[in-house]
Amino acid sequence: MIVRSGVLAREFCRQNAHAEVAAVFERSLYLRYADMFVCLGAPAIGNGPLTLIADFRPARLHRGQGASISARGIMIGDAARLSFDRCEPWQPPRWPLALSPRELIDVGQAIAARSAIEAPAEGLGRVHAQGRGETPLGRIARGRIARFASWLRGALETDRVSLAESNAVQDLIGLGPGLTPSGDDFLAGALALLDALAEIKAHAALAGAINASPRRLTSPLSGCLLRAAAAGHIGEHLHRAIAAVISGDVDTAVAAIRNIGHSSGWDMLAGATTALSVVATARSPGSRRRP
């Protein structure tokens, strides 16, 4: 039985499609139809826009199996029949009020210090702090993140961003290790932060740059999740982390991030703190930003 459904996952299922099992993990699996994916998994994986939570374990299921999807339920071969009869929709709560720009800058610095030590060596979590022993990813990512921050600063200050400049966004897409590349997670974190701080135009500019990017830049699965984030849909753990960031609760932010994959959560936090630094500086007294 499916007990909770994200907004996009429920839309996916209303298409009455014949999907395919794209990947099977210990507590979850991904179903794919065209370039859309939904995640079906046990409650421990957490709610998300593309997630269906069920009393379910994917044992005995395998990649390539056919799945019949309808508004009433999901059938995967003869092995799993899951109904929507008692399914409740999931949506994240509203964002809390944000701290002052000065306080947000302090929060960003505190998170950067934690990430420098606690984030895994893989991914972008330590990219702001790495020195000796820097990885090839770190060497490439450092300059691209700086260009992204500069692009975002421009988006905040001028409200105008040309498509040519959006290379600063595209260069991060598909970059790095993991099921969802670190660069994609980084951008999802930045999008969530901009949404939380109600930076509507900057969020729209970033979402536009992502949606305009060629699909071949990242994997179909990660691209689907990134486009969902660009449309303002993020998962429960990231929402909790970003809500804690803008409230100044670093411990809660880090605890929430630890629930997201191996390095994905830290990559998201790196994107969020990069965007946080740019936004908080732009909001500080004396900035060039237009009121």
Binding site: A116, E122, L175, L217, S219, G261, S264
Partner: protein
């Protein structure tokens, strides 16, 4: 000349943690210079090119494909690594642990595979542990329950049932045992010998067994009982049965009991049993006062003293010049411990020196942190407030990072006291992790450490000690010695 090989797997999605783990495992294979597993996005191909591990096959990969990229010193090493990569990718579940060729899904199947087995180690979520333990008892097996969160009523019932069957239940929450020379769960590689240990405390057993081993002795068996066995409700069932077992064991000459202070009635029960034994005992009830011991037993106030009494001689103190150590600036000691019993032992050393000390897990005579007025602090980082939703610091040393960074930055702190616990089950380089944190900070109060382990552990103690000393840490021979050095350093 180096050889680059790439293999491309079409539309393959694997958990990130599995990809990272396989990457690391491949990178550690003999002859492999560089390894990476990434999806074939244009940006990732650039990274592989930068790392000089992108070959023609990898260059053709699509964003939904997985690229296995390797650079090795020669073709043979590359082929061997690629074969290992294929094996791990076909069975990603084995990449995190040694292959479980004899894994069985049920207790019955396991027993049928090994009909000669006489012990079952249960490590399942606490809610299911008692049921599995009962199955094991029904098959005539002694039981070690590693799981925690087992209700005490279940523990009482299990231990009574086991006693009726003449079987031993170690635990629940039994983290350490060495049975017949085989380390179980968190335990160290120590030689066989004539000293038997019985302990309610995992790190207590580890520290004593390692001190005995490093002083040239050995362990016959180390039997864990679980932290609640000496509570009045349980009535020391496992402790008393363990004494019976070691009493009957011809290879055991001397028996050491290690625990927090038991309930008074339980202490009497245990000491009455000790009095009836023909063997000598060392009783280390950490923090206990005024114990009336039988003639065949001696009291050890610390784990170090317990090891010395069992050996019949003093353990090494090492070459450190204690009198030369002085804390610069701050006058407070901050202890940050992965081992709960090591935290308790440090508090006892401070209390014995007449110093006030506070802890989140205070021993008798120490203050709770909430009541402390900024003095010496001993923090048990394995306590719930630090490990909720996170692994224990013996597995994940980053649990200590934040408190350590705070202590490094606090000008009032003149001495930082830490423990590093080695052995099976623990982090593969805990000293290296601590050293990295210390090296990333300029301020260096005096940092004193103990390293619980042996040179034969999976993380050899000598190499771990070297990592710490290179970071400027003074390593004492035992946890009690480290606490004693801290007191001297602040002029206490």
């Amino acid at each position: 000349m180096s050889v680059i090989v790439n293999e491309v797997r079409r539309s393959t999605y694997l958990d990130s943690i599995v990809l990272m783990r396989i990457s690391r495992q491949l990178a550690e294979l003999p002859g492999v210079e560089e390894a990476g597993l990434v999806i074939g996005t244009p940006a990732n191909k650039e990274i592989l090119r930068e790392a000089h591990i992108l070959g023609p096959d990898g260059a053709k990969a699509e964003p939904g494909d997985l690229i296995v990229a390797l650079r090795a010193k020669d073709s043979a090493a590359a082929e061997a690594a690629l074969a290992e990569a294929k094996r791990l990718l076909e069975h990603p579940e084995i990449s995190g642990a040694p292959a479980l060729e004899n894994a069985s899904r049920t207790m019955r199947a396991a027993f049928q595979r090994m009909p000669d087995a006489n012990l079952a180690l249960i490590s399942v979520p606490g809610h299911f542990a008692a049921a599995e333990a009962r199955k094991a008892l029904a098959f005539g097996l002694n039981v070690m329950i590693f799981s925690d969160n087992v209700p005490i009523e279940e523990e009482m019932a299990l231990k009574r049932e086991a006693r009726e069957r003449g079987l031993l239940v170690m635990g629940p929450d039994c983290g350490t045992a060495i049975i017949g020379g085989v380390p179980l769960a968190f335990a160290n590689v120590v030689p066989r010998g004539d000293i038997g240990l019985i302990g309610a405390s995992g790190t207590g057993i580890q520290e004593v067994s390692c001190l005995v081993a490093r002083a040239g002795g050995g362990i016959s068996h180390a039997i864990g009982t679980g932290g609640r066995d000496l509570r009045a409700e349980v009535g020391a069932i496992a402790t008393l049965m363990a004494i019976d077992a070691l009493e009957a064991d011809a290879a055991t000459r001397h028996i050491v009991l290690i625990s927090k202070p038991p309930a008074e009635a339980v202490a009497r029960l245990v000491l009455d049993r000790v009095a009836r034994s023909r063997k000598p005992f060392t009783i280390c009830f950490l923090g206990a006062r005024d114990l009336a011991l039988p003639a065949n037993a001696r009291c050890a106030a610390t784990l170090k003293a317990a090891a010395e009494l069992a050996m019949g001689r003093a353990a090494e103190n090492g070459p450190t010049q204690l009198s030369l150590l002085r804390a610069d600036g701050g006058k407070l000691v901050r202890g940050l411990f992965a081992g709960g019993t090591l935290c308790a032992e440090a508090q006892i050393v401070f209390r014995q020196a007449g110093l006030a000390v506070a802890s989140n897990v205070p021993v008798p005579g120490a203050a709770a942190i909430a009541d402390a007025n900024r003095g010496h602090l001993m923090i048990d980082l394995g306590a719930d407030e630090f490990t909720r939703g996170r692994p224990h610091p013996m597995i994940e040393p980053s649990v200590r990072d934040r408190p350590l960074i705070d202590a490094l930055a606090d000008p009032a702190v003149g001495v930082i006291l830490i423990d590093v616990v080695l052995g099976y089950g623990g982090h593969r380089d805990p000293a290296g992790h601590v050293a990295n944190v210390i090296n990333s900070h300029d301020r260096r109060p005096l940092i004193l450490a103990s390293v619980t382990g042996t040179d034969r552990d999976p993380q050899p103690r000598d190499a771990q000690v070297q990592r710490l000393t290179e970071a400027g840490v003074i390593v004492a021979e035992s946890n009690a010695d480290a606490a004693d050095m801290a007191i001297r350093a602040i002029g206490g």
